[in-house]
């Protein structure tokens, strides 16, 4: 049942349920990319489960013709862990938002990542609480005016990817809702990674936070404001393909340089190493606009085993060693006596 019988198309992963997002919401584009990814990787609908919390983003499972569980706010990682432990053969995708995943659900996200449960976490970051009508979220920049912060927010936002790294995630990637060219590839790699994969997707909320990512997502700005990294390739960007990141001499820091200026050549450009965690931290937190926003698979460093496989390996080992599982014998273990 794991082998595809016929090749499915993206449309085969769409349900007949009416999609209930606002017209123009970035979620539509992500839905499209995910459906394409599932077709690309030849996923079987019956072995695929989409799990989500609560939020606009978390309505996602209703639109996927797979199994789906729309749970409660912030707890999707815990449900997903239970599902994957109960049946490791299932292909589990977790959809969450910046509020669901990083506000109420931060702790579960931390633990599903550090335990390294083999599933994909897609965090739709629109820097706002969409479903509850636009309050600021833990990823909103300082000064965000919202119904609960009419004078502007004062708390510093968290970087989802830096958080994931601190939590011990071993696959961290970043994409953009409208990046239909890149997104399916990133998602396919997340899926291929054995262990917990974390993908932050910048998503435009057209109603409550429209254009918040424009400075790096708008066509005109994109090339200079985005750096798409690839393992083993120099970190070059810019519309003329001549900007790059270079290691500073004797400092554990990097800088933006222009190839061809001040004697800089392509050889000076730092080559991306997706297994380097310190570099990943740096790339996640580069200040924009001084630096570009880094996209793609930024960190990937698989562990020897994913959590559910280790759990089952242990169970199997004990089973093999004990050979029988006899409850009667367990009850009789220790001191017993007979009354006649």
């Amino acid at each position: 049942m794991n082998k595809p019988v016929t090749k499915l198309s993206p449309k085969d992963f769409a349900t007949d349920q009416e999609v209930r997002w606002c017209p123009g919401c970035g979620d539509y584009a992500i839905l499209k990319a995910v459906q394409k990814t599932l077709a690309d990787i030849e996923a079987r609908p019956e072995n695929t489960v989409f799990v989500s919390g609560i939020g606009c983003s978390s309505r996602f499972p209703y639109y996927m013709a797979t199994y789906g569980f729309h749970t409660i706010h912030g707890r999707a990682p815990a449900f997903a862990t239970g599902i994957k432990l109960a049946n490791p053969n299932l292909d589990v995708w977790l959809v969450t938002g910046d509020g669901d995943g990083l506000s109420i659900g931060g702790n579960h996200l931390l633990h599903v990542l550090r335990r390294n449960v083999d599933l994909q976490v897609l965090l739709f970051n629109n820097e706002i609480y969409g479903l509850t009508k636009g309050q600021y979220s833990p990823t909103s920049h300082i000064g965000t005016r919202s119904p609960s912060t009419p004078y502007g927010s004062v708390d510093a936002p968290v970087s989802p990817c830096a958080f994931a790294l601190g939590a011990g995630a071993r696959f961290i990637a970043r994409g953009i809702d409208t990046g239909q060219k890149q997104l399916p590839g990133i998602l396919a790699r997340a899926h291929a990674h054995k262990g917990a994969s974390f993908v932050e997707i910048f998503q435009n909320c057209i109603v409550y936070n429209d254009g918040v990512f424009n400075d790096f997502t708008e066509k005109a700005a994109a090339a200079d404001a985005q750096l798409h990294v690839e393992h083993g390739k120099p970190m070059i960007f810019g519309k003329d393909g001549n900007k790059g990141l270079r290691l500073k001499q004797d400092r554990f820091e990097i800088e933006v340089v222009t190839i061809g200026e001040n004697g800089v050549t392509e050889d000076d450009i730092l080559v991306h190493d997706e297994t380097n965690a310190a570099l990943a931290h740096l790339l996640f937190t580069l200040p924009h606009p001084a630096f570009p926003v880094v996209l793609g698979v930024i960190y990937c460093n698989p562990a020897p085993a994913s959590y559910e496989s280790a759990v089952h390996a242990q169970i199997d080992a004990v089973k093999a060693e004990r050979r029988t599982a006899d409850l009667k014998a367990v009850l009789k273990k220790g001191r017993t006596w007979e009354v006649r």
């Binding site: 789906g68 815990a78 862990t81 599902i83 432990l85 759990v311 089973k319 367990v330 009850l331």
Partner: protein
Amino acid sequence: MTIPQVSEGQAVMNLEKAVRHDGEMGALESVVIRFAGDSGDGMQLTGSQFTVATALEGSDLATFPDFPAEIRAPAGTTFGVSAYQINFGSSRVLTAGDAPDVLVAMNPAALKVNLGDLRESGMVVVDTGAFTDKNLKKAGYDSNPLEDDTLAKYQTLELNLSQLTLESVKDFGLSQKEALRCKNMWTLGLMLWMFDRKRQPIIEWLETKFASRPEIAKANIAALNAGHAYGETAELSGALKRYSIGKAELEPGIYRTVTGGQAVAWGLVAGAQLAGLQLFFGSYPITPASPVLHHLSGMKEFGVITFQAEDEIAAVCAAIGASYAGALGVTSSSGPGVALKGEALGLAVSTELPLVVINTQRAGPSTGLPTKTEQSDLYQALFGRNGDAPIPVLAAATPADCFDLAIEAVRIATKYMTPVILLTDGYIANAAEPWRLPDLDSLEAFPVKFTTPEEAEGFYPFRRDEKTLARNWAVPGTPGLMHRIGGIEKSYDTGHISYDPANHQRMTEVRRDKILGIANDIPLQTVSTGEEKGKLAIVGWGSTYGAIQQAVRKARVEGYDVSHIHLRHLWPLPRNLGELLSGFEQVIVPEMNTGQLVNLLRAQYLIPAEPVNKISGQPFKIAEILDVIRARLGGAQ
């Protein structure tokens, strides 16, 4: 070998004085011993080994371990005192006993804390070696109780246990500290002698336990033997007396002792087997619930998945997730942890997934008294969720009952596609009682039937069984049954999200009716002791069983018209309960809370049931219930 130093002015220890005996000199019907000492003195071990020896002797017994919240409180303090009480005898023993006949006090603090409970003219065994000025001060004694009249009412056996122990183990080359650790075995030896229990099982246990350190095993055995020998010598000198307790008349069978924690774990494994499901246990450690997690963690050969979650919310959510994926999801905690599960329980109610929730109750509110027992989470179990979210609630009466009710919880959860809450408490969880091993083969299986691909035609996830009203259970991985569920209201007819007003009414009602219908699938309520109608019914639930049962039996012997009704199904209530209760002139509901079941009964049946409450973190005493009966029914009839 030293000569017994029985304290001045004491004749031979004479326990019979206030103990029921069965004629033959030195033979007692039952005895209550409390071992008390510093947390570091090994009293829990001493007590539980005495329990094993006693069980093997064929006595009936009940125990009450009572230990401090501190891991290792500073030596000598009153809050560091750890105690273990055992009641054993030749007749049916149902509680750990109201008042100890014998108190073993390893230090002044132990004496201070426990003396008040000792019955009049009971026996005190003290380690004089521990009654130093420093320890006396730590215990808050202004003068030495061994020297003033503190112990005047009691028979005292003052022994320098520390010194006696050191002597007995001096050949094994232990450090002073290690040698002193054998004190509890010396004491156990003496007690085994006094109540005529065999040493051999303890010796075997010591040999296994210290297999890797044989010198420690040998020293402990030597101390055990020395304590025993001390008794024999003292008997010869006429200073001490030995007692025999006859075998109890128990149903034939193989027996072992069991705690509630063990019984829950085994019952869950048995239940999962009967249902044909893999057991998924998600939990987060908390006193006194952790033992269930610990027991199950060691049962991997049964395919049990234990998941120590990051918190109680994750634990219940993971269990629900596992149920969704086709396993039997179980979660377990104590009051404060269960409080955190309320929202997720609502989701299990709404998505109609099987789930078993075990609450090993402790004294609240809030952190309360983590190591003390209480029954104050019944309200939370019945009502502690948002929305109309009915959940069946069961409560175990004894440690052994935990096994049966864990199975029953699994049965109801899977048959009715619903979460089920099983209440136990700190007392049941830790107390040990003899348990006749059930005949596992005779348990009726209730295999779960997942929806199959063949049933895909017209399938929707909330299609119901006409009789049970349970929805069907289609698990991920099944071709053709892909569907989406969640906590938003669902259409009765399609399972899709529905905001339709009439549909919400219908769904709320069907969820209610499904649970109420379980009343037709549980035993009718019976009377534990007494008649089916009469002057007074004592209605209990949970771990008050033993105390109520003994009190009612005694009262009936005294001629009172009183019956004991004990509930194991708290929601839905047995369908004959209202009628049964209406047959009594008075209904009294003793609870270890400020009155929770009593209000449920009043609301359901409009009977003037009255509460009797104990909220001290301690189990009811038989006498406390007996007093209530006497007060209610006047002088004996």
